[in-house]
């Protein structure tokens, strides 16, 4: 991960602070719906491609309502692609049975399942990213805690999120000072690495001690209090129920296929 990733990270955080129709939906409703979305998408048979396409509606709708830039999201999905690609790319080698045909051109089962994996990947990753971009970490943690996440863990998530930039900036400063003192581009040896990361570790631990002192001074009693807890509205329930209904319908019937058959060319050939 390079520094650019951190700038990006900050942007996702900024997007979470916006106030749009998508952001105003209760975090619990969005978290639940997104989870239902991912489980439904992953429950399809492994050669399925066309039936998955209607599901793109969910991330796109949230993205548009939440005014999340499409290009930004696309780049983030692309950055995460290599692992899924590395595993999926073997499917065309192992499964060579013809599974579909377009005219005289046949497609093997392996390529279909490859396409299926990549479509699932794009759908699930974009849904998770849109969820964060439309909710923000604080609201999301509060929502997850209400849904049963242990309080210690919810607090832990907020802490990691809060101090990511602080510790990363500290690490970046140490690296920069090291580079400035080096005559040429410097690659860390294991010994120097141990000292550098070890120092960063000790500094982090010291910082944690200071934070704890400051928290105690402000009356910390083991709970973090969140202002303006969201109230559950009917529109939130409608949001979750409506989307889940759509997921179920799209799971039972191949909507894309049905749309294709409506057209004279698609049905006739």
């Amino acid at each position: 991960m390079a520094l650019g990733t951190w700038v990006d990270f900050g942007r996702l955080d900024d997007l979470g602070q916006l106030d749009t129709a998508a952001h105003r939906i209760d975090a619990r409703a969005k978290a639940f719906t997104t989870l239902a979305f991912i489980v439904t998408v992953m429950s399809f048979a492994r050669h399925e491609v066309s039936a998955l396409t209607p599901y793109v509606l969910y991330p796109i709708t949230l993205m548009s309502l939440g005014r999340i830039p499409a290009g930004y999201l696309f780049r983030k999905v692309l950055v995460a692609a290599p692992f899924a690609l590395a595993i999926a790319i073997f499917n065309p080698c192992f499964d060579r049975q013809p599974a579909a045909a377009i005219g005289t051109f046949t497609i093997s089962g392996g390529w279909l399942s490859f396409a299926s994996i990549m479509v699932r990947f794009a759908l699930t990753v974009s849904a998770a990213l849109v969820l964060v971009a439309c909710t923000g970490m604080h609201r999301l943690c509060a929502g997850l805690e209400w849904l049963g996440l242990p309080r210690v863990f919810a607090m832990q998530l907020l802490f990691v999120h809060r101090y990511l930039f602080v510790i990363a900036a500290e690490g970046a400063r140490m690296m920069r000072s090291l580079q400035l003192r080096a005559a040429s581009p410097y690659r860390l040896s294991l010994h120097v690495y141990g000292a550098l990361v070890g120092s960063l570790l000790l500094r982090s631990m010291d910082r944690a001690g200071r934070i704890y002192g400051a928290m105690l001074a402000r009356g910390f009693d083991g709970n973090i209090r969140v202002l303006n807890r969201q109230a559950w509205r009917w529109s939130d329930a409608a949001f979750a129920a409506g989307w889940c209904l759509f997921f179920v319908v799209a799971r039972m019937w191949n909507l894309a296929d049905a749309v294709g058959r409506l057209l004279p060319t698609g049905g006739a050939s």
């Binding site: 990733t5 990270f9 996702l12 989870l35 991912i38 489980v39 992953m42 429950s43 048979a45 050669h47 066309s50 396409t53 793109v56 548009s64 499409a70 999905v77 692992f83 899924a84 595993i87 999926a88 080698c93 192992f94 013809p98 599974a99 579909a100 045909a101 994996i117 849904a127 964060v132 242990p150 309080r151 210690v152 832990q156 802490f159 990691v160 602080v166 990363a168 500290e170 690296m175 690659r187 860390l188 040896s189 294991l190 010994h191 120097v192 141990g194 570790l201 000790l202 982090s204 944690a208 934070i211 704890y212 910390f220 083991g222 039972m252 909507l255 749309v259 294709g260 060319t265 050939s269």
Partner: protein
Amino acid sequence: MHMADALISPAVGGTLWAATAGLLLHSARNIRDTAQGQLVPMMGVLGAFIFTAQMINFAIPGTGSSGHLGGGLLLAILLGPHAAFLVMASVLTVQALFFADGGLLALGCNIFNLGFLPAFIAYPLVYRIIAQSTSSRASAAAIAAAVVGLQLGALSVVIETQASGITELPFGAFILLMSPIHLAIGVVEGLATAAVVAFVRQARPYAMPELSAQSPAPRFARAIFPGLLLSALLVGGAGSWFASTRPDGLEWSLARASRQQGATGLSSTVHHRLAALQQKTAWWPDYQVRTRATPPEALTVKQAEPWPAVAPGTSIAGLVGGTLTLGLATLIGIVLKPRRTAV
């Protein structure tokens, strides 16, 4: 080694989610009961530290590549397994949410592979046994524990992926692919952990719990340890041996796999069980997990509609419909997008 959502089935993802949720509750309760207030900010800041440490690389001599810290083991050494597990779980959650590293459905798998295995297996069963008061033993312990943790993690990734039945990679070939590379990564990660531990031991000995407390490793750990180390060495060693004596190992398993149509006995039975479970618990009546590895007797329900259906008509309808749906969805997105003036 982050698992992606696209590679696992809901049954596997759900099972690991449940397992991880149980571990999370257990760890959270343990932390709350021991009531170490200062542990709360400490865990949070160390989570952020792990993020940063993963971005700092050191050069591996003689190669062009570089390595970095994994995190789980170091955290377990500093904070103990329960807190380490919680911190790793939070780090992985933030990675899944913000960096799309791994996915939400695969989060359970990732927390299990990268949190549970190093903190609850490699740390108590390998590190605690080897590490004593001398620093050379601590270094050896860190390397051994990192190797064991990563080998188990790689094995776990293979099993989870195979049980999901989405990839076509046969079990043996997948293991051969994963094991040797993770042996190397394990050694590198162990070196990194050892270097940091050595520095902290020297600079601030009282920060290392095992030096201040001097508590012996649990007895059951001593009993399991030799077997665990042996099996890790066997798996790693055999994997590397296969990889080196059979440079065409992948192709060889490829050829075998194409004859035998798929996975080995273990993975297919696991997959069948899960598929059966999935079919029982599915909400949707027409739910089917189709694998070509399925033996004919298990196909009784599915024979009614053979798959793959090589009918140009359906393929074209799917293609046209899919494209159209995507276009439609994009259009809806554009229409729904609030105008700038509406702010």
